[in-house]
């Protein structure tokens, strides 16, 4: 790995979230300074800030892009108890367009939450234009824009009370499965039960239903992420808690036919594919690469670790990133912690390089 470039983000405080658009050529950043900035990749491969505006009256926790089929659309959520939908408009503000700046208009202000909105995510494209938010008081809300050509009309479709303070959510991107959401809670009380809940939309009763609670995870969860599904027969969920967990969810039976069992819920076989405590501290962020084959986890040890499975589905740390100021023991093998008797570091499939590649960024290969 190598640092290709470092951009001075010009935020007045630390950045909370970075989000790439669908094609990876636009980037949005948000910060405690209550602003969002949009960056565009120029033809010569540099990131150029094309918009920066104050979005909320509190820290902006997350920013996320909608699918480009819906236009250039962002959603953000904030401590100020709101989530907002933004659309880029062309040619409305002449003064700003002159300097290669674009103009973003607030299309919706979602004010239903009574506490800080901790996460916001657009649903998968095949579901139309849906937006899920979750908040510190434990409510998950699903909004929908019924007319995708009109972004100013959003209706609150569903409210789910998870009964636990929510910190994060993730849509299952799979087109083959019913709409599914995973919600994580940062409630620190282990006796409050499992901190990751899985909800599924039941088309027959038109309601979101809780289908699973991951009882194995009782510590505070800071971030969760479903992996993109490229032909896998199961769903893969990464969880950032006091360690990194990778969970597989395999649907045991197809949704029963509507007539026989209108309230039927999917059943899952849940397995822990991996558990890594190399961060030896809280893990705050998990992020999949676009094919869902490599996971990046960021922890309090000041390290970003990359995990990859070989073709036998054994996961292993293949690379570590850290700041030059932090003192870290980067080594350490996987403990193979696994409660299901599955092997974790099976196979001697070396990921490290036999010799130095002159820092040219030759990656460790792990097959």
């Amino acid at each position: 790995m190598f640092v290709a470039r470092s951009i001075s983000a010009e935020h007045k405080d630390l950045i909370h979230d970075v989000s790439y658009d669908f094609h990876g050529r636009r980037m949005a950043t948000c910060s405690s300074d209550q602003t969002i900035k949009v960056w565009d990749l120029t033809d010569d491969g540099e990131w150029q800030c094309t918009a920066s505006w104050k979005t909320h009256s509190g820290s902006v926790w997350k920013v996320t892009w909608a699918h480009p089929e819906f236009g250039q659309v962002l959603a953000s959520c904030s401590f100020d108890r709101t989530a907002a939908v933004w659309e880029e408009v062309v040619g409305e503000s002449l003064a700003s367009t002159q300097r290669g700046q674009s103009h973003w208009v607030k299309r919706a202000n979602l004010v239903d939450s009574r506490t800080s909105v901790t996460d916001v995510k657009f649903g998968p494209k095949h579901m139309g234009l849906q937006l899920a938010t979750c908040s510190a008081d434990g409510v998950v809300r699903i909004y929908e824009a019924p007319d995708v050509m009109n972004l100013s009309q959003w209706s609150l479709q569903h409210e789910i009370n998870t009964k636990l303070s929510c910190s994060c959510l993730s849509w299952n991107p799979s087109r083959l499965h019913l709409p599914m959401l995973a919600v994580g809670s940062d409630d620190t009380n282990p006796s409050a039960g499992g901190k990751v809940q899985i909800y599924e939309y039941n088309d027959n009763i038109r309601k979101w239903q809780k289908v699973e609670t991951l009882m194995a995870i009782t510590d505070a969860v800071h971030h969760i992420s479903f992996a993109p599904n490229l032909g896998r027969s199961y769903h893969l969920l990464a969880i950032a808690t006091k360690d990194v967990r990778i969970i597989t969810l395999r649907c045991l039976r197809k949704e029963p036919n509507a007539g026989a069992n209108p309230g039927g819920m999917s059943k899952f076989e849940i397995r822990q594919a991996a558990q890594f405590d190399e961060h030896s501290s809280q893990v705050w962020r998990v992020s999949w690469n676009i094919t869902g084959t490599v996971l990046a986890s960021s922890g309090d040890d000041g390290c970003v670790r990359l995990w990859k499975a070989n073709y036998l589905d054994n996961w292993k740390c293949i690379s570590v990133l850290r700041g030059d100021g932090s003192v870290t023991n980067a080594g350490g093998s996987s403990t193979g912690g696994n409660q299901l008797g599955l092997t974790n570091t099976g196979g001697n499939f070396g990921g490290s390089r036999g010799f130095k590649q002159g820092g040219s960024g030759q990656s460790s290969m792990w097959y």
Partner: protein, 695 residues
């Protein structure tokens, strides 16, 4: 000097544990190899507070400092602007033009290999020659690439570039060495499994210091006294190159013809040395007999002390006799265990079978300080000799950090049927796994994605999913790029992806107020609802501006207009305007009437249509017949009635609420209605008159 392979000192000095042998069934013991992940450091003082990373497209991560947990009102107190670090993961070498050439050229071979028809009626021995042709094709591309890399290294203007190319030269030299050994062992068909001739060629091809030594010696004034003279001769003999050795030997002037000529004796032995060559019709037993006979002769001459007086010739004779000690003495010349192995086998066991090679390895490795000193390259070659393909691929991926090599090698071995027989039932998965990684590394490259797509076509299990995923995400900077991606989708019948790409392009065009372009994207993907939306936009543009844009497109909709009713109406309505402009009043009038009577026109547009009829009603010639006028009057009454209804006032659909007419507009519309009513009445009168007078 070409072809000399230097083993990187990092490799040989690094203590690499000799890999545990796989169990007989190929299932490995589970153990942690203790290998450390690569560590990359980012220079940013803010990162001390905390770190957070997010994947972007391709193999890149955005890394930034973060405060955990995120809390309101707790400021980090940073003075400088926070930074976002873009960290890349993956090979950079695709940016090297020479490597890119390799990627493009081997792509063709790969595709041909996938389509090669193994002659099902024949045995495996018949399909192998074909496969070794493919292997040689790959190897010739590697060789060409290596030569270019070497030239580039020599021509490099600065040290950094030279070092980069030097590194690539090193990698591809190893690739070539490993590939050709694998070709001999796994791909080529060897009658009776006798491999020595091939192994000799392998050593000759890759290690030709002997020629260098010979050149040094012969170009000096007194070749036979030159330091390299005997080294060259020994190496020639060790590599089984008798003729070259004899030529050099003949240069020694100290040779005394008058007394007993030991030179002539060794010359004779070298000349008569039998070789087992393929395709000469010689049987193995025949060769074996000849060989024994010849070696007995060598031993006889040696034991009779024919070469006692000349230590150098004695050494040669000892080599010919297959004296084990002499190989140890010459280990500095053979340099590596595998070269010693080949030389030793040549004289000790020339009919060795490929599968038995591994039993001769240990002594040679021990001669070079044993297994503990083996580097990664040694381990790969060793694994190949042990027919442990799995290990070859595994070690190669970690040593070379090169997706190209392992992906192509695994595929070739799979095609040879070697992956199934040697590495369990997941052979095809391993191949696909490596191909997916290789293709993924190409998909994020701006000019190699089509090559990557082609590789994904040959991954039966996950290829299509990957391809759909990547194609949908390719950046569409220009329309040309979008069309190119669309062609790839259409080739593979990926309707959902083409649809999505067209929609993205259409929405982008719409945002830039290019309605015509947006509509053509909608037509391309046959997106009816988007086409309806755009047709409405065209109509409202006409209502507000009194004209159409993108006339070219609208005039040439043809059968495409049946995609949606609204679009059909738009097309027909535009046709009406065109007829009108072309003074085809009669046809224009018919069309207009048709649009109204078959209810194709949206109700809210009727008034506009009737207003359009005004000039036709007022023209000198009578255009609308009485019958037609009655029908127009019907329509007029229809909207006059609905004029008061909420459906008209609030638009056809609830979404059109904003089109609700104001008081002023309503007034104007009422005047219009009166005007039309008058015109219709007058036309009716004229039509009755003219129709009556005709009769």
């Amino acid at each position: 000097m070409v072809g000399i392979l230097y083993v990187d000192p990092h490799i040989s000095h690094e203590a690499v544990r000799y890999p545990t042998k796989m169990a007989a069934n190929g299932m490995e013991e589970d153990f942690d190899d203790g290998e450390q992940p690569e560590i990359t450091t980012i220079s940013d003082p803010h990162l001390r507070m905390g770190i957070s990373a997010r994947w972007g497209a391709g193999n890149q991560l955005a890394v930034h400092a973060a405060l955990h947990p995120p809390q309101e009102g707790v400021t980090s107190g940073i003075r400088e602007s926070p930074r976002v670090h873009e960290v890349r993961w993956g090979t950079q070498e695709v940016n090297n033009p020479i490597i890119r050439k390799l990627i493009n050229e081997t792509h063709g071979t790969f595709v041909a290999l996938q389509h090669h028809q193994p002659d099902t009626t024949s045995t495996t021995s018949n399909r192998k020659p074909q496969l070794s042709n493919f292997s040689r094709k790959y190897r010739s591309v590697i060789r060409a690439c290596l030569m270019q890399l070497k030239q580039a290294e020599e021509a490099a203007r600065d040290d950094v570039t030279a070092e980069e190319y030097g590194l690539q030269v090193e990698i591809y030299s190893m690739v070539e060495l490993i590939w050709s050994l694998c070709e001999i062992l796994f791909v080529e068909s060897l009658p009776g499994g006798v491999v020595l001739a091939q192994l000799l060629d392998w050593v000759k091809w890759h290690f030709n210091e002997a020629d260098g030594y010979a050149r040094e010696a012969t170009t000096s004034d007194t070749p036979h006294l030159h330091d390299s003279y005997w080294s060259a001769i020994y190496l020639y003999v060790l590599q089984g190159r008798g003729d070259e050795a004899r030529k050099l030997l003949s240069l020694d002037p100290t040779r005394s013809m008058d007394v007993y000529d030991e030179y002539a004796s060794i010359d004779e032995l070298l000349r008569k040395m039998p070789f087992f060559t393929l395709y000469t019709g010689q049987s193995l037993a025949e060769f074996d007999m000849k060989w024994r006979h010849w070696q007995d002769e060598c031993r006889r001459r040696y034991s009779e002390g024919e070469f006692n007086t000349n230590k150098n010739l004695e050494t040669i004779c000892r080599i010919l006799c297959g004296d084990e000690d002499v190989f140890l003495e010459l280990k500095d010349l053979t340099e590596t265990w595998y070269r010693m192995l080949v030389s030793k086998l040549l004289y000790c066991n020339p009919t060795v079978k490929a599968f038995d090679l591994q039993y001769h390895v240990k002594a040679c490795i021990d001669a070079y300080d044993g297994h503990a000193t083996l580097g990664p390259l040694d381990n790969i070659l060793l694994a190949a000799i042990e027919f442990d393909l799995h290990q070859v691929i595994k070690e190669s991926s970690s040593l070379l950090g090169n997706w190209w090599f392992v992906a192509h090698l695994a595929d070739l071995l799979f095609q040879c049927g070697q992956l199934e027989s040697h590495s369990l039932n997941y052979g095809s998965n391993l191949r696909e796994f490596l191909l997916l990684d290789y293709a993924s590394s190409l998909m994020s490259h701006p000019s190699l994605w089509q090559v990557g797509a082609s590789y994904l076509d040959y991954c039966p299990e996950f290829g299509r999913y990957y391809l759909e995923f990547y194609l949908e995400r390719l950046p569409l900077q220009t329309e040309q790029k979008a069309l190119k991606v669309l062609r790839e989708c259409e080739k593979r019948d990926m309707k959902d992806i083409s649809h999505s790409i067209c929609k993205v392009m259409g929405v982008r065009a719409l945002r830039n107020e290019r309605l015509g372009s947006a509509l053509s994207w909608a037509l391309r993907s046959k997106d009816a609802s988007f086409a309806t939306f755009l047709a409405d936009r065209f109509l409202s543009e006409y209502s507000s501006k009194g004209g159409f844009s993108s006339l070219d497109l609208l005039d040439n909709l043809g059968t495409a207009m049946v995609l949606s009713d609204r679009l059909t109406f738009l097309g027909k309505y535009r046709e009406f305007h065109r007829l009108h402009e072309e003074w085809e009043f009669k046809s224009a009038a018919n069309l207009l009437l048709q649009l109204l009577t078959n209810r194709m026109a949206p109700k809210k547009f009727w008034l506009t249509l009737l207003t359009d009829a005004l000039p036709l009603l007022e023209s000198e010639e009578v255009i609308f017949s009485t019958q037609q006028t009655y029908e127009l009057m019907n329509c007029l009454e229809d909207i006059s009635l609905s004029f008061r209804s909420s459906a008209y006032l609030h638009g056809d659909q609830p979404g059109d609420a904003q089109l609700k007419p104001t008081k002023g507009q309503q007034e104007v519309e009422k005047q219009k209605l009166d005007l039309i009513r008058l015109a219709l009445a007058r036309n009716l009168a004229r039509a009755i008159l003219s129709e009556g007078s005709l009769e």
